[in-house]
Each structure stands twice: as structure tokens, then as C-alpha cells.
Symmetry: none
DNA sequence: GATGAATGAGGATTCATTCAT
DNA sequence: TATGAATGAATCCTCATTCAT
């Protein structure tokens, strides 16, 4: 008899995809395990065979999303390019990613809320943002070194860029019809770059 | 006989303050009505006498916060001042407000999450952000008119500023030890202003 | 100062009328004291000033209805008339009473159910039925004595008549559109009288 | 591995029997789900696994009783017999059924009361009474055709018989010690038959 | 007499999780 | 592996009744 093929990963995918749909639609707390059972087409026992608890499913979903996201973040933007150009490329890539996970937005709100009381989720999000900043920082650093950017504080400036992008996503969740996401991202980048590039004014403040 | 003094506002405050403490600490979904009962020092019946449901309580809390916040947002920043200066003052005022509601941050995550499925909460937050933008826009408009700022798109630029500030708050929730809130806000403002002020470079791109 | 007029009875009426409306519409168990408060236009305290409990109100309503009903039952149907004629008059009077309390029918169901566990209500209903039978019995007795009726068992025959009328009311509650109440009552009386009057057949059986 | 035997019908029976005992004893509104849990020997969850709500349980009980009753009502009383004889047999069968459901009488009061506000219960009872009438009507019809009965209105006469029997049950609930159920049923039948059979008197009235 | 805010025991229902099969 | 019936602690909310004013 041929060894039974391992369907573990397949089943887990099946469950996580079903759970993602359910969570997206009803929110973590309003979603019922039975909803996931129904949506997945599996049985209650099967769900619990692959995942210890509802919370474990939530964490697994987060892991997948962030693993996937992380894998796609361009870590190796060629430093041959100018810093501004690199940031542009990075923002461009971010926009593309954003559009891919757009339908999952509701999940992120739940993750944010849950991260306050679930250390695992908190760590995952933190790591993700960290990674995000770790890409921006060297670019800014390069920009300053080459004189392309003003001698700003690298970490704080990176944080400003990251915050501006994250904030745009948040605002967009409330004004999806008003905000043209791509355009807004580019406008924001434009202003930020203008604020970073070196010119005779070192600071607007006296 | 002295007329019985109306204590209903007092009671509502009592309940909302207790609920705020409970929700902040345990999150809306993990909070139990009994926690609020215990924390408020009132009875179960009294809570339900003043509020129809647990959900009604969180809506009332949001209303109070936003009513209070809204009342304190400086709408009348003197237009005698330069646009950059006005933005500075606005950010300064925002920082001060932020510090006042800092302990309530966990609640905002709950608000964000619940706003996806509770239209009342959604509207309240939307209105608040709207108000926020409506203060920034005229300042930018003035800056452009006087030539102090580049001829940027007013609405989109206001959104950039708003998003940057909101995003900073979000990031700060994850890196409270790393981010010096006040400094970060000011750095961000500095970069944004640099990006808005008029100078020979119209755009860093191309 | 003129002595304050006693409004007790007036208030009690006010409460009982409101309660009757509420109970009729929602049933005893689904009705809330607050419904009665609202319907009566009085305060919670006032209700409890005049009645000790919800159950007391129910009993009071029953008492009023049965007192009123009882008072209207024709006890002194002239025995100068034939027994059949007397029964006819009695049924005629019953029909008229029925129409008066028709809107209260739902209450009777509640009374019936409650009488199983509330001795006071049970006694009241029992007394009422007893009274009913006590009117019919002498008529039948008279009919037998005068030879107008067959020598049936008086008590059991009275019960048959009473049961037929009560049963008609019950059926009518389920088939209000099919049953013409007045006609049905008269048909039933007709058959019963036919069954009671003396004729050569003493019994249809054997 | 032997397939797990389907115990769902068994469980439902178990629950409905326990609930019947509880409802009979305490009445629907006074009965607590915990009483049913205790009486059934199952868990709270099991009860709710099989029935959606307390209301659903009483509906199911009614359904079973009426289904069983309906199945036992003799629809095929041989028309070779005389109409009077058929009615006798029918009443005899009814008496036997009555004795079987005698302990459930208290439930019927709850059914009657709830039928006012629960369409499902209302329909069930209506259907049952309808069925009852549909058995009596053809017998009367036959009696009239053969000249055994007077030319009475079939539907109304059937209603009279049905009402008399139902009414007897109702009265008996109040005078269980006074009424000898079987005898009373037979007396009633006797009078009704006497009222239906043809003889020279067409009507007792004038 | 009258008010209505306050009480709190009680109750129906939910739902994550378990486990015998 | 997989099933789904069974568990029962937990939870929100109700509502008859009370009582200070």
C-alpha cells in the first residue's frame, strides 16, 4: 500500500483560508468555530486536530500573512540608485503589496487590538514594523552620506516615513472612497522626499 | 421637601469612568459586565438603567472622548501667523491632547476594530478625522496663497499630515520605549514642512 | 380644608384596566410591570402601593371579571316558564355576556393555565363554574318533575350543558371565522334540548 | 469499526420526556432549563444541541402528542354500522385516548395559552381539532342520509359534539373528583344522540 | 400617597473545547 | 486521522420588587 500522502499542509491551508474569510467578515470575536467548520467543509474535530485553539488559528493566519509579506519586502534595493529613487521603488513595491492584502484589512484591525493582550501577536507585528524600518533606514543613511539628504536623524526619519505610510492605510480604511490610495502614497512620498533632500534651507524653523 | 437632585449625569459618568478603566485594561470583548459593576460600585441593574447594553457603553465612551477632544481642537488658530507656524502650533496642541488621552490608547484599538461593524462608532471616528483634516486644510491653503508653500494639492497634503500623525500614534503603541512621542511628532512636522515650503526645487523626482 | 377625596378605587380601576389591556395583548408572563406602568400612566410606586405584586393584579382582574359576570348571571329565571324555555333564556343571556367579555378571551386562557398552580385563581374559576351549574340544575330538575324532560341525571346533564357551552367558547377561540358564535350556541341548545325532552324513545342505545 | 449508532431520536425522546415531566409539573413558564437538564440526565449543551430553545421543546412535545393522537384517531370507522353506533365507538375510542394523555392535561393548558402567541402551536391545535371534526362530520352526514338522524346542519352539529367533548375535558380539569369522566362522556353522548335521532318532534321549540 | 432610581437573584443561551468511536 | 455529539462554565441581560426621598 502506498504511504498515505501527507495532507497536513493542505488541510492547514484549507482551514486558514476558511478562517481568514470568516474572520474578515465577522471579526475575531464574533466569529464562531462552527463558522470556520462550515466554511472549511471540514469537521470540528479536524480543525482541532490541526490547531489547538481559536487563538492558535488567529496567530497562524497572522504568521502566514507576515511571512508572505516579509518575504516580498524588497530587502535588496540596489544601492547603486540614489536614495530618493530607492525610496520611490520601495513605496512602489509597498503599494503593490497593499493591493494584494487589501481584502484582509479588517483582519489587521483585529490584530492590532489583539496584540495588546497577546504577546505572540504583539511580537509578530513589532517584528514586521521593525523589518519595515530596517529597510528604510539604510536608504536614508545612504542619502545622508552622499549628501542627497539633509543630515537628519536616521531612525526618526525612517519612523516618520513608516508612520506616514501606516497612517495612510488607517485613514484609507475610513475614507476608502475619498482616498485614491496609490496617488495618496505617492503624494506623501513626494512631500517626505522634499523634506529630506538637501537644499539651502536646513530647517524651516528659524 | 427638597426636590431629589438629578444624579443621572453623575451616575453615567461613574459608569463610563469605571467602564473606561475596565475596557482599557481588559479590552472590550474580554471585559465582563460584572467587572464594570464591581469597578463602578453600582449594581447590575443600575448599569442597565443607564445604558441599554455593553455596546452602548463603549459608544458612549467614544462619544465623550471625541466630544471632549473635538471641543479642544483649536479651530481658530490665528491666520495672522504664517502657515508653518500655524501647523507647528496645531501639532503642539495635538501633542498635548495626546498626552491627556494616552492612557486610553488601548481603547482606540477597540474603537478601530469595532468601527468595522458598528456604524455609530464608524461615524464618530470618521467625523473626528474629518474635523482634524478641516483644520489642516485651510492652513495649507493659506500657505499656498501666500507663496509660503509649494502649490500642492490641499486635500491630499492635509491627508498626508493627518496620516503621518495618526501613523505615529499607531507606531508609538508598538514602540513606546523607542519612540519619544513629542520629539517624533516634531521631527515629522519638520520633514513635512520642509517638504511643503517653496524653494527652487519643485519636485525631487526626475 | 376639605378632606382629600378617596381616589383608591379610581386608581385601582385605572391600574386594573391598564393591566387588562396589557395582559390581553401580551399574556401574563410576557407582560412586564413596566408595561402596566406605561399603560396606566401611573408610576411604578403607585402600582405597588395599590397591589402587592403582579400576581395580585392578576387575581384582582379575575375577581372583577367573575364578580361582574356572576352578578349578571340570571339566577331568578321565572320558574313559571317551561324548563326548555328557561334554558333558552339562559343561553340567550349567556350569549350576551359572552359578547361583552369577548375581548378578554385571551385572559381566560391565562387564567386556566395559572389556575393549575394558583389556588386562589383555581377557586375563583371553580366557583364560577359551580354557580353556572347551580342555575342549570334546578331548571333540569323542574323539567324532569313536570315530565317535560326525560328522567336524566340532573347533575350530569347540567354538566353536559355547561361543558357544551364552555367547549364552544374554546373551539371558537380556534375557529373564530368559521364559527358563528350565536348560531352555534343556539344549535347546540337545540340538540341538547332535543336530547332532554321526553318522547317514546327512552334511549337511543339498544 | 462499527458505525456509531444514531442516537439522536433516542436523545430527543429522552429530552422531550424529561421536559414533559417538568412542564407538566411546573408549567412552561415556571419550568427552568436546568430542571430539564437535571430531569433528562443530559447536559445543558445536549439539550441545546437537539432543540434550539425552550419554546422549540414545547412545540416538539405538542407535535409528538398530536402526531401520536392523530395516528390513533379512528378514521375508518366502518360505515356499515349505524351512525349512532359509530359515534358511540368514536367516543369510546376518545375516552381511551383521553385516559392515556390524562397525566398531560396540565400541558394542554399551556398549549392553549401559548397558541395565542405562537402560530406553530396554534396551527397544530387547529389541525387537530379539524381532524376531529372531519371524523364526526361524515358520520352525521350518513345518519342524515339514512334517515337515522334529523336533517341538522352537519358542520354545526359536528362542532356541537366536538365542543361538548372538549368542554367536558375542560370542566373535568376543574372537577376531577366530581366528574366521572367515562360516565360523563357517555351521558353527554347519550343526550346528543337523543337530540340528533329522528322522531316526530322536529324541534322542541314552538 | 407617589416617585422612579436602584437592586440582584435568576435564567436562557452560547460556544470553545473535548473525547469516545 | 476524522467525526460530531456532548459538555458546562461563562455571560449578557431581565424584571419583579424595594425604598429613600
Amino acid at each position: 500500500m502506498a504511504p498515505k500522502p501527507d495532507v497536513s499542509e493542505e488541510r492547514k491551508d484549507q482551514i486558514l483560508e476558511a478562517a481568514t474569510r470568516v474572520f474578515t467578515q465577522r471579526g475575531f470575536d464574533d466569529a464562531r468555530m462552527d463558522d470556520i467548520v462550515a466554511e472549511s467543509g471540514l469537521s470540528k474535530g479536524a480543525i482541532y486536530w490541526y490547531f489547538d485553539s481559536k487563538e492558535a488559528i488567529i496567530v497562524a493566519i497572522l504568521d502566514r500573512i507576515f511571512y508572505w509579506e516579509t518575504a516580498h519586502i524588497q530587502k535588496n534595493i540596489s544601492s547603486d540608485l540614489g536614495a530618493a529613487k530607492q525610496l520611490e521603488l520601495f513605496v512602489q513595491a509597498s503599494i503593490e503589496e497593499m493591493h494584494k492584502i487589501e481584502p484582509l484589512m479588517p483582519l489587521f484591525f483585529d490584530f492590532w487590538t489583539r496584540s495588546l493582550r497577546n504577546p505572540t501577536i504583539n511580537q509578530a507585528i513589532k517584528r514586521y514594523y521593525q523589518l519595515f524600518l530596517e529597510i528604510i533606514e539604510p536608504i536614508i543613511q545612504q542619502g545622508i552620506s552622499t549628501g542627497e539628504f539633509r543630515p537628519v536623524d536616521v531612525k526618526q526619519s525612517a519612523m516618520t516615513i513608516g508612520a506616514a505610510l501606516e497612517g495612510t492605510i488607517l485613514m484609507w480604511a475610513y475614507f476608502p472612497k475619498i482616498i485614491d490610495f496609490d496617488k495618496q502614497f505617492r503624494i506623501t512620498l513626494d512631500i517626505l522626499l522634499q523634506g529630506l533632500v538637501a537644499n539651502e534651507l536646513t530647517s524651516v524653523r528659524d
